[in-house]
């Protein structure tokens, strides 16, 4: 079948990317034109600009209804609800990262920093929509290469440079393996569009081993991007060493885009036989990746949570927590192959949305705290509730959400994930997840205890909160709270609608 050639639909499908590219170039220009004293406002231009892109995208560029109209520009991208919701969260993560950059003294006035950051967001946004091996790889690299640069952006800071180099070496290695896997898939089928590729692969007569190896190679790249065990080694060092806004971006935009691509890729290239119309002789490779994802999920959750227990640095704690959360998300990914009601994919989508908001909130507080005290040690958070009650409350909300306690959105997210696993006949996976949530409670609540119960030496001296922070933390906190209480059903409905698009193949 052919792809849609509608020009207007094609432009609308990549409208957010076009607007963000223009924004990045505009920031580079403003960086030259504006006087130094005004350059901190570049952060507003970047942050508010990205928020505006979300608005424009949601209003002007709703996805076409038919799947044949959604595959555009030679089948490079699929403009569906899934792309839409993941783009929204990716761009939101980017916007919040830009706003919190405005509190980092060495970066707040750097137009080039904002521009490169936005290009990383463009890459993550394309990942959410990519429907072609070439597009997927370029989008993946677009996020990776810009993030290598951004992680090492603090020149003269040894930890930042070390983190940049570690991330680069690990990333280049896993990218090469992924590319090898992708080229094997192309070699087997002669197709680059993932939907056509899936059709050809299902009807071909390839040895199982060949498909399994190419699948495993591709999975390496995804596992690296979402920091799943055993490709997690970079995570703590990079999270600790990178400028904190970039840590925010890593754990929000980059992760969300990768999760979207992961779901779309696996379901389209290795679909369960039922999805291809249950023709006679269609081969079903989905069991391969379901098993792989389930195993990755269990080891990521367990290792992440256990190692987080002994951390004393808040950024390292959140890094191990992000590994554990990659495990929780993979529970939902393992569940997507069996259910047609799209429950698993909807749960993953909801979870990712709340995770973006939660992590932006947590890292925002960490930046403010580090600026005020020069410390990222958990012990130094002592007495934060007396110094800045609102900040302590925001951090508590983020930690409750990560731990999965109501009224924060994390509770609903975890509930949906575990329910999806149970419905997909993976009760054991849900049980492992629940045990891990209990382990996680300990180290999240320790931080809350330190903030509220212990007394610090500087009790009473409030931490300064600038205007951009009020906005960034306000948006994130409101989201975490609302999507955990009264706004649950609108977001779940949107996520479910998005998830259904995954199951409509060519």
């Amino acid at each position: 079948m052919d792809f849609s050639t509608d020009v207007q639909a094609s432009v609308l499908a990549v409208l957010p990317e076009i607007l963000m590219t223009i924004l990045a170039v505009a920031l580079l220009a403003l960086d030259v034109v504006w006087p130094d004293a005004r350059k901190r406002d570049l952060g507003y231009v970047a942050g508010v600009g990205l928020l505006a892109v979300i608005g424009v995208m949601l209003v002007l560029a709703p996805p076409p209804g038919e799947v044949s109209d959604q595959l555009l520009l030679g089948g490079m991208i699929r403009h569906d609800q899934l792309a839409q919701i993941f783009r929204a969260m990716v761009i939101l993560g980017g916007a919040l990262s830009c706003l919190v950059t405005m509190g980092v003294p060495r970066l707040q006035h750097r137009g080039d920093f904002y521009a490169v950051l936005i290009v990383a967001v463009v890459g993550a946004s394309l990942m959410s929509a990519a429907a072609d091996l070439i597009m997927a790889f370029i989008a993946l690299e677009m996020t990776s290469i810009t993030l290598y640069l951004l992680v090492g952006y603090l020149r003269g800071d040894v930890r930042s440079s070390e983190a940049g180099l570690k991330y680069f070496l690990f990333g280049a290695f896993t990218s090469a393996l992924t590319l090898y896997g992708l080229s094997l898939l192309y070699g087997f089928t002669g197709e680059t569009n993932i939907y056509r590729l899936g059709g050809v692969l299902g009807r071909s007569d390839l040895p199982d081993g060949a498909v399994a190896v190419s699948l495993a190679l591709v999975a390496v790249g995804f596992a690296f991007k979402i920091s799943a065990v055993p490709f997690h080694f970079w995570t703590p060092d990079v999270y600790e060493g990178a400028p904190t806004p970039i840590t925010t971006l890593l754990s929000t935009a980059s992760k969300a885009g990768s999760v979207a691509l992961l779901m779309r890729f696996f379901l389209a290239v290795f679909p369960p036989a039922g999805l291809l119309g249950a023709l006679e002789g269609v081969k079903d490779y989905s069991a391969l990746w379901v098993q792989l994802v389930a195993v990755l999920s269990v080891v990521s959750m367990t290792l992440g949570n256990v190692l987080a227990l002994v951390q004393t640095n808040i950024k390292r704690l959140l890094a191990y927590s992000t590994i554990a959360h990659a495990g929780y998300i993979l529970i939902g990914v393992a569940a997507i192959s069996t259910d047609k009601s799209a429950e698993g994919a909807a749960a993953v989508t909801f979870y990712m949305f709340m995770y973006v908001l939660t992590n932006a909130l947590a890292f925002g507080v960490v930046i403010l705290f580090a600026n005020a005290t020069g410390s990222e040690q958990i012990a130094d958070f002592a007495g934060l509730s007396r110094r800045s009650p609102w900040l302590a409350l925001a951090m508590t909300l983020a930690l409750l959400s990560l731990a999965g306690i109501p009224p924060a959105a994390g509770f609903v997210g975890k509930f949906l994930l575990f329910r999806a696993a149970v419905d997909a006949n993976m009760v054991w996976l849900a049980l492992v997840g629940i045990i891990n949530v209990i382990i996680g409670l300990y180290y999240y609540l320790i931080v809350v205890k330190v903030m509220y119960m212990e007394r610090g030496p500087e009790d009473g001296r409030p931490v300064r909160v600038d205007t951009p922070y009020v906005w960034a933390l306000g948006i994130a906190a409101a989201g975490v709270l609302l999507f955990g209480t009264i706004m649950v059903s609108p977001l779940v409905d949107w996520a479910t609608e998005a998830a259904r698009a995954l199951y409509i193949l060519l």
Partner: protein, 191 residues
């Protein structure tokens, strides 16, 4: 097994590629390693030419040998004290084991595929009597595919945005510090 001119040429280029690559990782002198890398890349270019992909062969020579390898040599010459390196470390045995296992795995995948495709013997592809014709305008088609909205226009344009960002970022990473600017901006902007 029938030895033809093509299979001899294939053997030659394969030896150049693999031998060069082996020397890259075993030689102690970093400068020599860069030169061997060029040799290895030349072998790859030869393989492309043999596969009737003249454009890729040319690009391989121009971009990889002409630009990237030269860049590596510049970097080595401008960086003092790194010209001699120890090519092995304590983990080399593990590395060799992993490499051998991976190679065996890949061979075990490709062999059944080959037999399925009816290809017998390593040189069969090159001894095929009637290879499918290569269109004369393959380069023009490649160029058109890059700018065709129904072809590869989007990845092509996206790659250029990526290059722009990489360029900006790279310049910012290596440019000389301008006084206090890297440390902190004016007090007014900060507070």
């Amino acid at each position: 097994m029938e030895l033809t001119v093509e299979s001899l040429v294939f053997l030659l280029f394969s030896l150049i590629t693999l031998g060069g690559a082996l020397m890259v990782v075993t030689t102690r002198n970093l400068f020599h390693a860069a030169l061997f890398l060029m040799l290895s890349l030349f072998g790859v270019a030869g393989l492309f030419a043999l596969l009737t992909a003249p454009f890729l062969a040319g690009i391989q020579v121009v971009v990889y040998i002409g630009a990237i390898a030269i860049l590596i040599i510049f970097a080595i010459m401008l960086t003092p004290q790194v010209t001699a390196v120890r090519p092995t470390n304590s983990q080399w045995i593990a590395g060799v084991v992993v490499a051998v296992v991976l190679f065996a795995l890949l061979v075990s995948i490709v062999t059944p595929l080959m037999s399925e495709l009816g290809v017998e013997g390593w040189s069969a592809v090159f001894t095929e009597k009637n290879p499918p014709p290569v269109p004369a305008d393959s380069m023009a088609r490649l160029g058109e595919a890059f700018v065709d909205p129904q072809g590869y226009m989007l990845p092509f344009e996206v790659a250029s945005v990526l290059l722009m960002a990489a360029l900006v970022g790279a310049v910012m990473l290596v440019r000389p510090a301008r006084g206090a600017e890297d440390e902190a901006p004016q007090a007014g902007a900060q507070e």
